[in-house]
Every structure is written in C-alpha cells, then in structure tokens.
Symmetry: C2
C-alpha cells in the first residue's frame, strides 16, 4: 500500500545540486491500469498501481535486462524522463522532487510518502511546495505519459 | 509470497463432478517474467509472478472490463484453458486440480498451497497424485502457453 501526497512547486529549493539525485525514465504498457517499466541508475523495475489517489495498492519487482527487454516490446508510450531529487523534511519525511525533462520540461512535482493516512492528513507542506494536486488525475505519471 | 508444490496426476479422483469447479482461461503478456491475464467465472485478474519454483513472489489485482480490454491488446499467447477442481485434503489443505482443455488436453496437474516452507516439505501426497514437478519449469503455465 502506498500513501502519498503530491504537490506542484512554488519555487525550486536553493542549491538543488547539493541533494541526492537520480535520472528516471519510465514507460507505460497500459495507462489504465498503470503498468509501468522504469530505468533508474541501471536498475530496471516493473510496477503495477491500482486505482486511487491518496492511497493506492502498488506492486514493484526488479527485472533482469532480459525481462526488461521482453516487457519493453509491449510499451505504448514515450519515456517519461525526469530527475528526482531527495530532500529531507522534518519528522523523518522525504520530499521526492521530480524535475521533468523532454515534453514536460516546465513541470515540477513533489511527492511525500507517509506511513499512515493520519500522518498524510496532518502534514503541513513547506513554503516552497505549491498547490496540493493529490486528487488530480492529470498529474499522475501514467496520464502525463504520451502515446507512441 | 506463494509457497506451492505441483504434481502430475496418477489417476483422476472418482466423482470428479461432485467437487466445486470453475473454468479458467489465461493469457500471457510476457512469459518471462510471467505477466498474466485471467478470466474466471466473469472475474478478470492481472497477475505478476517472480522467478522461482517452490517459493514465488506473486501480485494479483482484479481488473475492470475496460482494464482487461486494455491489457488484452498486449497478449502474446493463445489462451490456456482449463477446468479447476477444488478438492479438500487433510490438515485444511486444498488440492487444486487443473484438467486442461484445448492443446494441452491430455495434461492434468495438481497444486497445493502451503502457509510455510516447512509445511510444504512435510506434505505427503495422496496416492492419486503423481510425480512431483514443482522444480520443473516446463509445467509452469507460462511455459505451457503457446505463442500467438
């Protein structure tokens, strides 16, 4: 189970390059349901997410290069391409800031994952966070992915 | 996590039609990894299984008809078509007996699922069970599925 809130970004944090970052590419086999391949620092994963906004069922499995290649033949979308920065917040929380490249170059999104729904509701976003878009389907990565 | 042993069948049980049964059809998007669609009594499911024989990671999610239709466009194999009989054994265990139809018409396989690896190893199969094929890749349904 994944409990997550998602926000637009008012202002990117200072010294962005001082935070740990990775380049992430992901492709969708189907948008609905969200069935996805991801390449991150040479690690390939396969992810399935159920419907939902704040709370979603999620399954993730690491793939060999051969398994990735087999599934890649089923891809229906161009790559989502983004740099993910990991920024520590208070209370042991981490902001995952996604700075998109390519077709969605102007877009930045920040996500925070929580242990419980109570913690998710109680969270007060820092000033650099923008509008809460947790409930907005259009900011889901599967909906941002462009058909081939 | 799924802990399962699989056997050939020496002799089908008497009065087979007295046991609960369902017709199962399943198709593979990829064989490796095993990414599968299933239709069972009008219920559609999507299943991903990791590598492994006795113990495998398994994810299963129910699909709407629309989600099933979207994923069905990605299918690479003909349907596996079988009748599954559920036969109670001792110690609260259940034998799932699959009687295959279509191309694998002569094949019968029986599976038993366990809570723990210890229980799996301790299991003594009834006389109607045949050879233990848990470790034999060729009897996995993904390997039985025929390419389109």
């Amino acid at each position: 189970m994944e409990i997550e809130r998602k926000f637009l970004v008012n202002e990117l944090p200072q010294n962005l390059d001082s935070y740990p970052k990775t380049r992430i590419k992901q492709w969708y086999i189907t948008i609905k349901p969200a069935v996805r391949l991801r390449e991150r620092d040479g690690v390939y994963t396969f992810t399935v997410k159920s419907k939902g906004h704040l709370v979603r069922q999620e399954f993730e499995m690491e793939l060999t290069q051969e398994e990735f290649a087999n599934l890649f033949t089923k891809v229906s979308t161009h790559a989502i391409d983004k740099i993910r920065y990991e920024i520590s917040l208070d209370n042991g929380l981490t902001a995952e800031l996604d700075v998109f490249l390519g077709k969605h170059k102007e877009l930045n999104l920040v996500e925070v994952e929580f242990e419980t729904e109570e913690a998710a509701h109680a969270f007060t976003p820092p000033a650099w966070f923008g509008e809460d878009v947790t409930q907005e389907a259009k900011y889901k990565n599967n909906n941002l992915a462009l058909p081939l």
